[in-house]
């Protein structure tokens, strides 16, 4: 029996680029189902997604990226998918790179394969302020979890069934990508990175800019510290 893949796309007000993104994925003829998680969008995202060949999970309220991604993960796990690939709805992650994540999984069998923009300096590398923040987060992830990751904020990742099972139960709602490394470490999941070229967002505005970058970094470190110090698995919210 062939393996089942789900491509999870969390969307919040991504109406302008959603159709082209799905067309792009369809053109690749990947043996995967697309799951769009509409995170309580106020624009036409849900209406557009309804007319596309996708599974649409419509959240009645905006939960933020963590809650939206976890909804997709829960769905993929319950619908018995073997793998889920998380892809941002803002066009930063090129769908052509999905095959690279899959082939890297086949080589490493890591539970989580992350697309990193910093392993090779190709494509969009983010702003200097963010890169400083990312470096600090990277340092604290290594100190607190022992994991060495180059792109801790990358939301372009493949998760196998074990990771899906874990994340469907425990997934951070705030700052999910970097904080999830504490969960990855806590549950003994294996993580591996593969170089991936990313693009600047084709539409929409990032919610993290200016002073928020520093606050983001501090809060991520706080969350990482909290989860890393929890002894009992059941206590992780």
């Amino acid at each position: 029996m062939s393996e089942r893949f789900a491509i999870i796309i969390p969307c919040y007000n991504e109406a302008s680029g959603l159709e082209s993104l799905i067309q792009n994925i369809q053109s690749l003829k990947l043996p995967a189902d697309v799951v769009i998680v509409d995170d309580g969008s106020t624009d036409a995202t849900a209406r557009i997604a309804q007319n596309l060949p996708v599974h649409l999970l419509r959240l009645p309220e905006n939960l933020g990226i963590g809650g939206a991604v976890q909804t997709g993960i829960k769905w993929a796990f319950r619908e018995n998918y073997d793998f889920a690939i998380q892809l941002d709805g803002d066009g930063q992650h090129p769908p052509e790179m999905i095959a690279k994540l899959v082939s890297h999984y086949k080589q490493t069998h890591a539970n989580v394969v992350v697309g990193s923009r910093f392993l090779e300096s190709k494509g969009y590398q983010s702003t200097w302020a963010r890169r400083i923040g990312i470096s600090c987060i990277r340092f604290f992830i290594q100190k607190l979890t022992g994991l060495q990751v180059s792109d801790p904020t990358s939301g372009f990742r493949l998760m196998d069934k074990k990771a899906l099972q874990t994340f469907s139960r425990f997934y951070p709602h705030d700052f999910p990508e970097p904080v999830s490394y504490a969960i990855i470490n806590r549950f003994g999941l294996k993580v591996s990175e593969t170089p991936t070229a990313m693009r600047d967002r084709t539409h929409g505005v990032s919610s993290i800019a200016g002073i928020k970058t520093a606050l983001y970094m501090l809060r991520v470190i706080g969350h990482l510290f909290l989860i890393s110090t929890i002894r009992e698995e059941s206590k992780i919210a």
């Binding site: 009645p60 309220e61 939960l63 909804t71 829960k74 319950r78 709602h173």
Partner: protein
């Protein structure tokens, strides 16, 4: 030097206590306030009343804990109650937030699953209708066929 509250102050505090508790109990009756919250919020009025009606109690505690003024002891206690209450409320808000997130996620998944089932049911209904129509048309053919070959029993 010991100061005791005047009868007017005692009356004002008793009136405040009574009105405040009526207000709290009514809210609790309407299920807008938890019983635990009622006790916590009620202590804001209870403590000053005990303080004023039974000054000997306050003075004794003041002597035991070594605080010079009963006034400080009273406000210290009220601060402690406020912090305990704040802690409890913050914990409950976080718990409710997590429950709300789970509920919202379940709603979204249930809606999608329901739509999927409805589509499957509709597809089944269409195929069933087709089968019935096909069956009916076959039935229509039979009488035509039989009319061409009337039964021999028919004169």
């Amino acid at each position: 030097m010991r100061h005791f509250a005047t009868p007017e102050i005692k009356l004002v505090l008793i009136a405040f206590f009574a009105l405040y508790f009526i207000f709290l109990i009514r809210r609790a009756q309407k299920d807008r306030l938890d019983l635990y919250d009622l006790v916590m919020l009620g202590s804001v009025a209870t403590f000053p009343l005990i303080f004023v009606l039974f000054p000997a109690v306050s003075l004794k505690i003041t002597e035991i804990i070594g605080v010079q003024l009963p006034f400080l002891w009273l406000f210290g206690t009220l601060h402690l109650i406020s912090f305990v209450y704040l802690f409890s409320v913050a914990s409950r808000i976080k718990k409710s937030e997590n429950r709300l997130i789970t509920l919202t996620q379940e709603m979204a998944m249930a809606e999608t699953r329901l739509e999927k089932l409805l589509r499957q049911a509709a597809a089944k209904e269409i195929s069933l209708t087709r089968e019935i129509r096909a069956g009916l048309s076959e039935e229509r053919v039979v009488p035509n066929f039989s009319s061409q070959h009337p039964p021999s029993a028919n004169p």
